[in-house]
Every structure is written in structure tokens, then in C-alpha cells.
Symmetry: C3
Subunit: 432 residues, 3 copies
């Protein structure tokens, strides 16, 4: 009789989640159900196994909603499983990642601490859960390192993971359970926050009631506008948060995340997300929203008068800003967000159907935003332009990309002129 196997089987059985209904109707979610089931099961099994759970998530509204959803589902189960109110602090960690991928700086910390916990406290290696991060090629080196140590990895993400063949992508070599709408023909419109709340609902349906408004906030924060996104936004509205309030909350989370840096700020984030005292929630969201607005306006007051706008022969409104010179540095909003706010102010003027491209550059980087119209009318795809320029100017060490209409471009300072002019030429030549 193999007692070890008996125990494993028992744990495996108890780890099996109920297949609860999704919060909204969605074909993509239906197709993702097996992966989500596996994610929920892996997390439940880790709890029963006595492994700790390490959640890493992107440090924006979507990523934080995703991290908090898993946190709220897991913590009560940890207390129950360990019969110990202190267990959550030993067996659960949630940490934001500044980059939109799992960076080497992050994995080095995580591995160092995990290996020390093993050697020092006799703990088991943790289950790693990556949220709103983990699907792309940029995640691969970090994940490879994690897998060398045989750490189990769950990824719940909605970033474009590269070419999908047979519901698998490059990163799957190092990922045990991968939830991403692109794997089943979907796209980034179902946010990581929504996916994580649906998985949380499978892990521990008793907390769902409490976190049902998070996907709405995540959708608004990520500017998602699909049918599914709108259903989640309505769901949050039904729970007492108007679309406007969801937007405010998302702004506050982003603002606070800027200052929290490597801290998860659990208590404060709970208040902002309406998971704690309601009166404090109202006061804090108001205070933070007004302050973040003030800071955005300060940046815009410096940036807008120095924005160079021209209408190109192909009809595109092209805006260029030296964001290092004409915006405050090392402060909120950072260059990427500043570019977004500048772009939005131009979009407000000309309308969303107008093809508009905004380029904000510093000495060795630039941030790009474009309206969907540029993609629809001209087939604009930032990733393709980045690849083209990288090939054309190999000495510039070009790197970057992101979504089709939003992302970044990095290069060595000495070739900035050549890179930026080449980028501008690409925009001018669109439609030719």
C-alpha cells in the first residue's frame, strides 16, 4: 500500500473545484473553461499541499484587480486548511511587477526568497501564479529559471502571446497551466481581472459576491470595450458602482500603485476597491482621484503647449512630444501615462474615428498611442513597425512593442534622431 499515493489522490480529489457558472455569458470563457478549471485546481491543490502561493501581477488597475481576486479567494481557505489565523501571512504572498512582464529582477528576488524558505524554514517550493503577465516572449527567461527549480507555474493573462498552434504558444514550455483568451481565438478584451475573478469563483465561490465588481474596474482601467467588457461593467453597476465610479476607482488604483512600487499595499488597496469600510472607501477615492487629476493637469499644462501636431497627407493627425523636456520627470503620471493623457486630449478634439497617432519621446525611448481607426484604415500595427525598424537600424539596439495601437520603442540615445525619423516616415507612408 503506497500511503504517499493515497494522500496525493485524496488531495487531488479535494482540490477539484466545482464548475460554477461564469458571471457573464461568453463563448470565449466557455472555450477557456478547461484551462481555468486547471488553474483553480492547481491553486486549491497548493493550499492542501502546504505549498505557499506566490502571486505576481502587473502593477496597474487590471493586474491589481486580478491579484486581489485570487487573494480574497485563497486567504479564507488557507486559514481553514491550516486552522491558524496567521497562516495567510506565511502561505500567501502578493507582489506587483512594475514591468508588463515577469522581469529578471523579480524572478531573482522570488527565487532567492523561495530557496531560502526551503533551506531555512523547511518550506516547500511555492506555486507561482502570474496575473496580467506571463504570456509573452519577454516572460520566457524568468519562467525558464523558475522551471529549472521545478516550481509549478499558473499564468492568467490576456496579453498577445505570439503565434498560437494547437492552443499552445512559446511560453507553454515553462508554464503548467495557461489561461489566455488568445489561446482559444479570443483577444485582450477579456481582462486578466475578469479571468482571475472567474477563477476565484471556481476556487472559492463563497467570496464571489464580494469581488463581482472587480472585472468592471479592470475593464474600464484597461479601456476594454467589447460586449464582454460591457457586461462586466454593467455587473459592477448593479453592485452599486456606476461606470464613472469604476473609472475613478481604476484611476485611484493606478495612482496609488505608482507610489506603492514593490509593496502590495493590501489595506489601502482594499479600501480603494470597496472591499473594506464603505465610508473610508468614498473618502479615499475622492481624495486620491482629485489629487491624481491635479497631477495629470499639471503634466498637461506643461506638455500640451509644446505638443507638435500636424495633419499628414494621408489624413492622419500626428502628434509629437518631447516628454522628457516638456513634462515633470520621476513623478505621476509617468511618460507612458502622460502620452496617453495627451493623446486622449487630441482624440477628444477630433473624435475617436479620426486616425490619430501620438509619439512621446525621451532620449532613449518613446511611447506611442494610436486610435483604432489607424489600425482599421491603414493596418497600423506597432509591433510590426518595431520589428521593421529593428531590422532596418540594427545599430540602434531597438526593442519594444506592446499592443497594436499602444506600446513603446526603446533605442540607444545616439541613434534617437534616426529611429524617430524612421518611425515618423512609417506613419507618413501608411496607406501608400
Amino acid at each position: 500500500m503506497d500511503i504517499r499515493k493515497l494522500i496525493d489522490d485524496a488531495i487531488n480529489e479535494r482540490a477539484e473545484p466545482d464548475d460554477t457558472e461564469f458571471l457573464i455569458e461568453s463563448d470565449t470563457l466557455n472555450l477557456l473553461r478547461p484551462m481555468m478549471h486547471n488553474a483553480a485546481k492547481a491553486i486549491r491543490r497548493a493550499i492542501l499541499d502546504g505549498r505557499s502561493i506566490l502571486v505576481r501581477h502587473h502593477a496597474d488597475a487590471d493586474g491589481i484587480c486580478a491579484g486581489v481576486a485570487i487573494e480574497k479567494a485563497v486567504v479564507p481557505l488557507l486559514k481553514e486548511a491550516n486552522n491558524n489565523s496567521d497562516a495567510e501571512w506565511h502561505y500567501f504572498k502578493r507582489a506587483p511587477s512594475k514591468a508588463p512582464f515577469y522581469e529578471i529582477e523579480d524572478v531573482v528576488k522570488d527565487l532567492s526568497f523561495a530557496l531560502e524558505d526551503v533551506e531555512r524554514h523547511g518550506q516547500k517550493l511555492p506555486l507561482l501564479v502570474l496575473l496580467d503577465n506571463g504570456s509573452t516572449e519577454e516572460d520566457m527567461l524568468a519562467l525558464m529559471k523558475v522551471k529549472i527549480y521545478d516550481i509549478e507555474v499558473v499564468v492568467i493573462d490576456h496579453h498577445f502571446p505570439g503565434q498560437v498552434v494547437d492552443r499552445t504558444v512559446a511560453v507553454d514550455e515553462y508554464v503548467d497551466v495557461h489561461v489566455n483568451p488568445y489561446l482559444v481565438g479570443g483577444d485582450s478584451q477579456i481582462t486578466a481581472g475578469a479571468l482571475a475573478v472567474e477563477v476565484a469563483n471556481m476556487i472559492n465561490p463563497e467570496v464571489t459576491e464580494k469581488i463581482m465588481h472587480l472585472p468592471g474596474i479592470a475593464a474600464v482601467g484597461d479601456h476594454a470595450a467589447s460586449d464582454e467588457a460591457n457586461k462586466y461593467i454593467e455587473l459592477a453597476a448593479d453592485r452599486g458602482y456606476t461606470r464613472d465610479e469604476q473609472d475613478k476607482i481604476a484611476s485611484c488604483v493606478d495612482f496609488e500603485a505608482f507610489y506603492l512600487r514593490f509593496m502590495n499595499g493590501r489595506g489601502i488597496i482594499d479600501t480603494i476597491l470597496g472591499l473594506g469600510n464603505k465610508e473610508k472607501h468614498g473618502k479615499l477615492v475622492n481624495a486620491l482621484y482629485n489629487e491624481s487629476l491635479k497631477r495629470v493637469q499639471t503634466q498637461l499644462r506643461a506638455a500640451l503647449p509644446n505638443l507638435k501636431t500636424q495633419k499628414l497627407p494621408n489624413g492622419i493627425i500626428f502628434n509629437v512630444l518631447d516628454v522628457e523636456k516638456y513634462a515633470h520627470k520621476f513623478t505621476f503620471p509617468a511618460p507612458g501615462k502622460t502620452c496617453g493623457f495627451v493623446h486622449d486630449s487630441i482624440v477628444q478634439k477630433y473624435g475617436e474615428e479620426t486616425p490619430i497617432v501620438t509619439l512621446a519621446y525621451g532620449p532613449d525611448f518613446s511611447v506611442i498611442r494610436a486610435t483604432d481607426a489607424v489600425n482599421e484604415m491603414f493596418g497600423f500595427n506597432l509591433n510590426e513597425i518595431v520589428w521593421k525598424l529593428a531590422k532596418k537600424i540594427p545599430e540602434a539596439g531597438i526593442d519594444g512593442g506592446g499592443h497594436e495601437c499602444a506600446g513603446s520603442l526603446k533605442f540607444v540615445e545616439g541613434l534617437s534622431k534616426k529611429v524617430l525619423e524612421s518611425f515618423a516616415k512609417e506613419v507618413v507612408d501608411l496607406g501608400k
Copy 2:
């Protein structure tokens, strides 16, 4: 019978401090007595309540003297109240703030840890004590956040708090006890270090003997020169620290604070301030003072040959330095102090009665020092000039200010030329 109320009343009674005599005679102190009494009582009550005390202070000689004074008064009472030699580490924290105000970066950390202590260790929320910080408009956002969580706040500061109406200022909306000489018609010449030592004397008179020389060091460190400041300096001289030694100690604290960054460095600071082993004190102060002097001289050797000095038609000696180009970066002394040392070297040449203005600028900031003569002869007030320029050049995102004759000016890099020329014009036009 309301037992809760009985206990509260008992604690309240025991928290009542003796109204000990002040260390020096001063009308301003006499007027501040009720506020100081309340500050001492709030701190004593927190100890008896079992709340922890979180002291945040400006990271310069004055702020550190203030923080250490409260620390020395509180720690023995904590040990006594908890009958536990380890209590001080759980119930008392002292942390420097790099900025001269309570920054969002600081409050985010403090709240995160405080809320975790509540949830994880069942601790009560702390009493927050801000020293040499906390009185100005720049502190308001952080304080607002703290108050949303109902944390009690004591401020002991001597920075200009804005317009005083009926002994109240803007920040008082979020502050429970506010000690600031400006509230009773005084000014910044009574340092935070002096105020904190006087409050420490109310909290725990048994330690006063030990910390009586700190207000002298704080006064010398802050260049305070009023009658009260001089009385404190004499008091320290009576305790065996000549004015020259107080100056050396203040320099050493500033030098060490630069490297301590977010640490309080308790053991080292105690040695520097003469609160520990006397022989080590002598050796350490000598070693640090010589090293800091060497580093100042290195900066001056690079800066002085590149300082542009001219006598303006209005008689003002105007000095301009590109401190980013002609001084080492990211090292001691930082730009603000470097500007101070450069200014002092010019003052030494022409005398304190000469109107002298020194402007040290970098790509997106500048630091300004002026002799009191510029204020007396021309009504020079840095804060007014900052407001005027901010209005005149709104696209420059101007921010800053400070004291009348010392402070900073921040702006976006792209408008530096316009901002600096406008500032120079203000100086040229003084007396017109």
C-alpha cells in the same frame, strides 16, 4: 457602570503630563504651552493605550535632534508600561523623511505597514508624530490619507504653515495636536529640535538632563540666530559642547543622514549626538567631520571656478552656478547643500550685510540662497517670486518655494532657459 469609560478616564488622568519649566525663558514658548501640553499628553496616552508610536522627521540635524528627543523620552516609558525590554521595538518606530514634508511615498509605506500590523498582529493603529515636518500645504495630501483611517496625528514643526487665523492653519483639518511657533506669532527661529526637547521634558522629565544639548545642535544646524536660539546654544555649551562642537556635530548628523537614507541609524546617531560612549563620540565626530569637510572642499574646488558672479546695478551680488555640470552628482553634498556652501563662501568675502543672491541650477530645478540683507533691503521673498513665475509661465509647471531667503524652484526641462531668465530678471528688478 461603563467599565470602558472608567478605564479611558484612568488612562487619560495618568497621561496628564506635569507642566515642567521650559529650559529657557521665551514668550513664544509660553504661548505655545497649551499645544505642547497636548502633544505630550497625546504621546503619553498612546503609550498607556498600547498604541505604537510612529515618529517621522525631516532627515537633517534639526529633524533628527527632534526625533531622538522624543525617542529618548518615550522608550523608558514603553519598557515600564509593558514590563518588557523588547516593547520599544514593537511600539516605537522612528524614520527619517528625505523631503522637507510628509511625502506620499512615506505615507503609503506607513499606512501599508500600520494596516498590516492591525490585520496580522492585532495591533491598534499607531499615533503618528511628525517632527520638523507636517505644517505646510505640501503635507496635506499625506495627512488627509492618514486621517481617513482615523489615525491620531501630532505635528511639531517650525516651518511656515501659511496664513494663521485664530491660531489655526490649513493643515489643522487633519492634525489633532499642532505645535508651531507661527501659530502664536513666532517664527522658524525656535527649531523643531528645541520644541521636541521641551515636549520630551513634559513627557518624561527624567531624561531631560541627557538631551538638554540637542536644541543647541538643532539651532546651529538650522542657522537659527534669535535670542532663543542663542540661549539653547549656551545651554549646550554649559553641558560641555562648545558652539564649534555643536556645529561639527550638526555637520556630522547631516553627513551621516545622507547615507542613512530611510534608516534611522539609532546606534550611530546616538554616538554622534553624545548620547552613548563619550570616547567613541569624540572619535566618530572627528572622523566624520573631516571626511565631510573633504567632500565639501572637493565640490567647491569644482564649483567655485565655474561660478559666475556679477554686481547688479541695484547693488546685489548675483551668483549663478550650473550645479549639475560643475559639481559631482549623487554624492554628498547634494545640490541644495552645495549651493549653500558656495553661497557661504561668497558671503564670507563680502560680509553678511551685503545683499547676495546665489542661484544653483540643474536641467529642471534650481536652488536659491540669499542673505537676509536682500530681504531687508529689497523685500525679497522667494515664495512670492515662485508664485509670480508660476503664474507668468504656466506651461513650465513651476513648483517650489521654502523659506524667504532659501528654497528651491522646479520646472520642466524644456522651459529652463525662460524660467531662469525670468528669475534673474526678478533679482535685477529688485528695488525698482
Copy 3:
């Protein structure tokens, strides 16, 4: 009967290490034996004394090999002495120092924590062991501070310690035991890693078997090429690590150290150095080596096309690179390493016997590499040039130096043109 003395004597006797044979034959090592014996004894005595051991080492392959060697020797003795498997975590700390010397930033942290441990936990002050750091004038301020608190200091280093008189150097005023080949007429070709492994062998010969390949890795990492270095490299080859593998491992340690920053990364470093699971070792070294190579190639692709190379009249091939403009910033490889790789690519083209000087500069610094041929043919010594320039252009605040053919030059930004031109002139004038 003096019981204290009896105990001290007993500890002293038990601390006495066996004088084991060196791993290789070397006259320099034989001359260094008494110092190494004292180092081993001091470390063994600290263990028996109940003092903790704080190891600080340079954060490169050599320094890390040195730190790990001492760690592996000490940890089992700590467990034994304290009869407690947790003891190692309380009584042993290993931390990398980014600078090639013991910086004020480091000592401030170390002293703060040590003094808190004394006050809070009743611990004794630690024994400080500096590895691949500690011998030079730049270490003196930090060491002076440590000695004021009567902390015992052991230095094992191979950097040039300045003028040697009677086997003593400047830093010895503050160092209790100093092991450095220069003290006995040797040079930097015996690495700190080798010295530390030999000392580890004296401390605890039972672990020698396990760490015998580290000196080879340290030698390859430090480009050491003496007879002794080669013997260590052969020794590692005998243990199953070809020279090529040693080189790969050293590269991986450097790459990982860049991201570990202030962490020691014990678990990961053990895997890389082959001290843990062999299969994971192979996988991790491969993954990291390939990634580091990729990043080096990215830097070179940006740097090489922008490198200006000319043959001077004196026959020297002189290469100049604006490393701030033509290389990615804040990423691996950093400017110093980038300069090294650029230099190596030129050396590969012209051969090691060619006199080649490479200068990579940024706004306020430059990094210099030269082939030994420049030293042999022209008496090139970087330290001498730095001193000469510092004297010639005092307003530039020049600082720097290093080895004869590799090091750095720092200056204030505003005088960069003058400094760099003067440096170039020195190179042009070599041989005149």
C-alpha cells in the same frame, strides 16, 4: 582564578586551525601563510565566541567565489557549535558590495544593523570579513568607522593596497588581519577567491573537496593568467569543469550578480557554482550564459559601429566610444563591462601583443582598458595618469583609478571635454 581568562584561553586553543597544505604550490602563498593562519583563526574564534560573522564581498565572480568559500566552511561549524540548525541564519550573513571597495553606504547599513542586534537581541558585535575588497585607501573611511566600535576586521583581498612598508599598508591601522599578496611581494594574480578557498581549507578542511573548483572560476573571471592562476584552473578542470565551463560559470555569476544587487542569492549562486543539484546546474548555466551572451551582443551591435578607432603615431590603436549614447543604459552589461567587451573585440582583431587602449565615456565618467603591451612597451599606468590629470585640472574634481591597465576616471560633467582631451593627449604622448 580568572574564569574569564580560562575560557578565553580554551577558546583560543580550540580556534587554532590546522596548517593544512595549500591546494597548489606557490611561494607567495607560503609567504602569506602566517596571515592566512590568523584569518582562519579569527573566523574560528568568532564562531566559538558566539559572535556573528558578517561577510562583505565584491559583487563579481571572484568576490562571490570568495564569499561562498567562507560560507561553506563556516556554516557547518556554526551548526555544530550552536547545536542548532537555525544558527547559521543568525550568526552568518553574506552580502555583496557593488563598488570594488567597502562603501560608506554599506558600512552605514552594517553598523546600524549590528548595533541594533546588540541593543535589541543582546548579540555581540560581529566579526567583519571583507573579501576581494578592503585593502585600498578607498576602504579607509568605512573601516575607520567600524574600528571606532571595536569591531574585529579580517581583510582577504588582492587589490593593490598602496605602498608596502614592512609588510604593512595604510589600511592596516584599522584592520586586524590582512591577507593580500602585495604585502609579501606578490600581485593581484592570486585572486581573492583562491585566497579565500585556501583560508576556508584552514577553517574547515572537511568542505575543501566541495569548493576546490572555485579558485579556477575566480581566476578565469578576473582574467588572471599567472602560473598560480593556471594551476587553479587545472585543478578545477580535474574536478570536471573545463576551462571553457569555468569561463561560462564566471560569466553567469557576473550576469546574475547584476540583478541580485544587494541580495546574496545563495540558492541560485550555489546552483550556478555547481554546489547543488548537478542537473539544475547544467540547465541554469546554459540558460544564463546564452542570455548574457545575447545581451552582450545587443550592446556590441549598438556600440561597435559607433566606436572610433585610430592608429596613433606611436603605434597604439586608440578606441573611443560614447558609451552613454551608443549602448543601452541601466542594463546588463553595464558601462565598465561594455567597455571590456568592446576592447576584447578589438584585441581579437589585432592580437594581444598589440598596444591597444580603449576609452568608453559618459557625461561624467569614463572607463579605460589597455592591453598589457601598452604597459610593457610604454610604461602605461592608469593610476599615474589619473593622478597627473587630477593635479593638472583641479577644478574637474577628478577621481578614479584601478589596475594599471583597467579602471575608471570620474569628473564633473562640465569639464568632460578638457579631461577626455587631456587623457587622449597622454595616450598620444606615450613613448615620447
